[in-house]
């Protein structure tokens, strides 16, 4: 209970800061919009083709946007010596991480909610499969990106080339999850995938989320004190 209290305190702080500036949501939103536009110029998609590739494009846009936003996620903490303060505080360090990750997750979900209609209009889509399944796939996939991304952002915080390092570390680890999200999303959009198979991808994604959330929480304190 106390732990949840700590997590909520960190979450509230992050949400309040974001509400005042709205930097990372606006940045991510515009960036992913640009990626979507660039892809639609690059591929010139017709309705049938766009349905096949749109799952991938959506996730690639979100992935790039998430990486650019996460690069800045810990800058404020670093500038204000929050990480040093956390080392001395009796509160569990992983609460700081979990609060940050949930906040980032909410930001990306907001971006997804705004982006989805634009995306459907641009690519002239209408969903052929079970649209409500997307309400499950999108959060699961987002969490997979955000939980590892937040972790690797703090891992790379004190390294050289940290802006470059985050995608270098995050992409290889996230590829299994990315495969799951893209396959499941495309499966729902085209309705060409067996529901059982979509179910397998979603389960796999959920398993991935669970495993890596646990690993991140267990190892956060080690990374915070790495010196």
């Amino acid at each position: 209970m106390k732990y949840i209290g700590h997590v909520l305190a960190h979450l509230r702080k992050d949400l309040r800061i974001e509400w005042r500036s709205r930097d990372s949501i606006n940045g991510m939103l515009f960036f992913s919009l640009l990626v979507v536009v660039v892809f639609s110029l690059a591929f010139d998609p017709t309705a049938a083709v766009s349905r096949q590739i749109s799952g991938g494009i959506l996730w690639v846009a979100l992935l790039f946007a998430t990486v650019t936003a996460l690069n800045q996620a810990w800058t404020r903490e670093q500038n204000h010596q929050v990480l040093e303060a956390q080392r001395m505080a009796p509160a569990p360090a992983s609460a700081l991480f979990l609060g940050k990750a949930i906040a980032n997750m909410l930001f990306v979900l907001v971006v997804e909610a705004v982006l989805a209609p634009v995306f459907i209009v641009f690519y002239n889509l209408h969903v052929l499969g079970n649209a409500w399944l997307l309400a499950l796939i999108l959060p699961l996939g987002t969490w997979a990106l955000v939980v590892n991304g937040t972790f690797f952002a703090v891992l790379g915080l004190r390294t050289r080339n940290r802006e470059l390092l985050l995608p270098l570390l995050l992409l290889p680890i996230s590829l299994p999850a990315l495969l799951g999200m893209v396959e499941a999303t495309t499966g729902v959009l085209t309705a060409q995938l067996d529901p059982l198979e979509i179910n397998t991808w979603v389960t796999q994604l959920a398993g991935y989320d669970l495993v890596f959330t646990i690993v991140c929480i267990l190892l956060f304190e080690t990374v915070l004190n790495a010196e």
Partner: protein, 244 residues
Amino acid sequence: MSRPSILRTIGWLWFLASLVVLAIGFREAIFLVPTDAAQGDAGRIFYYHVPSSMLSLIFPYINFLASLAYLYWRRRDPLKALTSDALALTAAEVTVVYATICLVTGSIWGRATWGIWWTWDPRLTSMLLLWLLYVSYLMLRRFSSAGQSQTLAAVLSVFAAVDVPIVYMSIRWWRTQHPAPVFGGGPDSGLDPSMMPAFVWNIIAWGMWGIFILGFRFALERRRQLAEQDAALSAIEASLETAQ
């Protein structure tokens, strides 16, 4: 004899023994095994592709265990921690080497039998993923500063090791163009008895060779660490002298 010279002798003997076993494995695979009925001589690459892919799935565990040992000893026993960190780094490098051999031989074999160099089949993709993971591990070691690179790398190794079982299980989870696993893949799996000696000799040979380069690289890394410690120590001594 002193301890380092005994170790050096063992290293040389091991090196010569693995060369001998490599030669036997080469003779078995290239000259003695009957030619594959469907694939012709191209099938002989099996004896290089499969051992290196199996070994590239084993060395990550050495890396993982050494990284766990590092994280355990980090505060308790720094000297042991340094040794296990050297082992972790070496195992990661050997993993990259074997995964590269596996990918390259697999690509050549694919060209000969499937007619394509590469296909985005889940098993090929997952092997590439393993390669990418350990290259990113080596990248992190290169980019992070000296004081913390061991801890950060050990943490990343835990992440990578969690991914390795996913890579392995992908054989069973996903449909694939790649042949089903030869060992334990179902009732029809298993090797023809005529292929067995060549396969066993080659996997022993490449295992021994892998352990040799592991040990060699480990000794080199230990030497680098000791030189670094000496340099740090003499720097401290020099700073003490100027203070007086």
